[in-house]
């Protein structure tokens, strides 16, 4: 039995096609994936992300607890800041990728993927046990509506109360602040998963309908378009962002995925207290650095994440083999036609020998070999 968003009746009224995703019934699209994609890239789109997990970690020990539990140096986030980070196992595998918001000095909100929500709550409870802090799973009680696209600042400032307008307008990327929308006090964050400017509104689920209606109403002037999971996936792929279960998993370290920057080891001059996975992640960092420096002497099963681009008519999809000279040298993790680049794009784990930009490979697409070339990530970034 899938869980239902508080906004479901609105999605159905808008003609959304619903699918089961991570145990939730959610819109995969409302009209056309391409139209929704285009709206986010050129105007503004709105997403119901109520399936995401929101876990509040608070108390005097919260900063130290999160420093221990996560790979990012959480206690170094400024109040009102946000950080993309990960929770890893002792062996350095990725349990989930997260965004952590520091709402107050000792109050944090950890946003986890819907599919990993229970595992993350359990891991946090386990790891934070020795610290004076409280962990409250607010997921069911919290709805999340994302407004993304170049026109999103216009809509975001239009829908918040007059007194909060300059705060919201002035929010730096990856920061958050409380604001009032249609009489509801909520957290507004300048974060997103689309590669565009955007705002995420975290509000109590029993008032989600009021928030959604205000967003849609305030967004009319900007031709706001409701967008589903299908367009969300291609937007994040174009932006080179990983998706757990595809580019990230228990069997990969952040370094394999080219995301070693999220692991903050500290320095001799500024050491960091021990954290879960510290030792294994140092080994992973060394190992991956070795692959990059000496690709030819890397073991046969070594793999690093790369982007691929192609001009064929067919798309590479997750699970398809990547070949060089007829031999399998990797596997695609995500792929789709890119509306913004008008070509095929994909992400794949390939042997270190094939990671240089421009390297030509083939992808086996349902029995046929299509040429693709290694490309730097992201595929798309906003016009500056």
């Amino acid at each position: 039995m899938p869980l239902h968003s508080a906004l479901e009746s609105r999605h159905l009224a808008l003609g959304a096609t619903m699918i089961d995703f991570a145990g939730w019934s959610l819109p995969v699209r409302y009209s056309s994936d391409l139209a929704e994609h285009r709206a986010v890239r050129t105007g503004v789109g709105v997403f119901d992300l109520s399936h995401m997990g929101e876990i509040e970690v608070s108390g005097p020990g919260a900063p130290d607890a999160l420093d221990y539990a996560l790979v990012g140096w959480i206690s170094r986030i400024a109040v009102g800041g946000a950080k993309y980070t990960m929770i890893c196992t002792e062996d350095g595998g990725v349990v989930d990728d997260l965004v952590v918001y520091r709402i107050e000095e000792t109050r944090f909100m950890v946003v986890a993927n819907a599919g990993n929500h229970s595992v993350v709550v359990e891991a946090l409870r386990d790891r934070c046990e020795g610290f004076p802090c409280e962990i409250v799973d607010e997921s069911q009680a919290t709805a999340l509506v994302a407004v993304q696209g170049p026109a999103s600042p216009t809509v975001a400032t239009r829908i918040v109360d007059q007194g909060d307008r300059s705060t919201v307008a002035g929010l730096p990327y990856y920061s958050c602040a409380p604001a009032t929308v249609t009489g509801i006090r909520m957290l507004v964050a300048r974060t997103g998963y689309t590669g565009e400017d955007g705002f995420e509104f975290f509000c109590p689920s029993d008032r989600a309908g009021e928030l959604w209606d205000r967003v849609v109403d305030g967004g009319k002037e900007s031709s706001i378009v409701p967008c589903g999971l299908a367009s969300r996936d291609v937007l994040r792929l174009e932006a080179g962002m990983p998706l757990y279960g595809h580019e990230l998993g228990l069997d990969r370290s952040p370094f394999d995925a080219g995301l070693g920057r999220v692991v903050q080891f500290g320095t001799d001059a500024d050491p960091r207290a021990d954290f879960v996975g510290n030792r294994a992640l140092r080994d992973a960092a060394r190992r991956v650095a070795g692959f990059r420096e000496n690709p030819r002497s890397s073991p046969d099963d070594a793999r690093l994440l790369v982007g691929l681009v192609g001009n064929g008519r067919r798309s590479a999809r997750a699970g398809y083999s990547v070949l060089a000279a007829g031999v399998a040298i990797g596997e695609v993790t995500s792929g789709a036609p890119s509306p913004s680049l008008e070509c095929q794009i994909a992400m794949a784990y390939v042997h270190p020998r094939y990671t240089a930009a421009g390297t030509e490979v083939e992808v086996e697409i349902r029995g046929r070999h299509e040429g693709m070339a290694v490309s730097a990530l992201p595929f798309y970034s906003q016009a500056k």
Binding site: T17, V28, R29, S32, D33, L34, A230, D233, V234, R313, R314, S315, R317, A336, P337, P339, R366
Partner: protein, 127 residues
């Protein structure tokens, strides 16, 4: 709600056939509005060529959308006499006009069809 025109016949693989399916007759085939909506924006159609033989209920091509790939089954047995180049060039025609401009193939029927559904039967499948 996806429409299911009365004058056509259908398969449980969401194809439609237009015309009398008699040996020697030429019929048009395509996919239903229901199928097109389920696929989302179709971006590529892999269709057989003129002169190819197709068999009822067997895969004869592929339809690829932004998010999924679906097999194209031939509803009838026969030989392909025409392929709709317009839909190959602009696959979005399938989404826009599945029963009209979105036709995919014309087939000269070589065997009477066995398992075609009428509009009412097909509609009840997709309810």
């Amino acid at each position: 709600m996806a429409s299911v025109p009365d004058g056509l016949q259908y398969t449980d693989e969401h194809e439609w056939v237009s015309g009398d399916v008699d040996t020697g007759a030429i019929v048009s085939i395509g996919i239903t509005e229901y199928a097109a909506a389920a696929l989302g924006d179709v971006v590529f159609i892999d269709a057989p060529s003129v002169g190819d033989t197709v068999a009822a209920g067997r895969v004869c091509g592929e339809l690829e959308s932004t998010k999924a790939v679906s097999e194209l089954y031939s509803p009838v047995t026969g030989k392909v006499t025409e392929v709709n180049q317009a839909v190959l060039d602009s696959p979005e025609l399938l989404n826009r006009d599945a029963y009209g401009e979105g036709w995919i193939l014309k087939i000269e029927v070589s065997e009477p069809a066995k398992k075609l559904l009428n509009a009412e039967q097909y509609a009840s499948l997709t309810d």
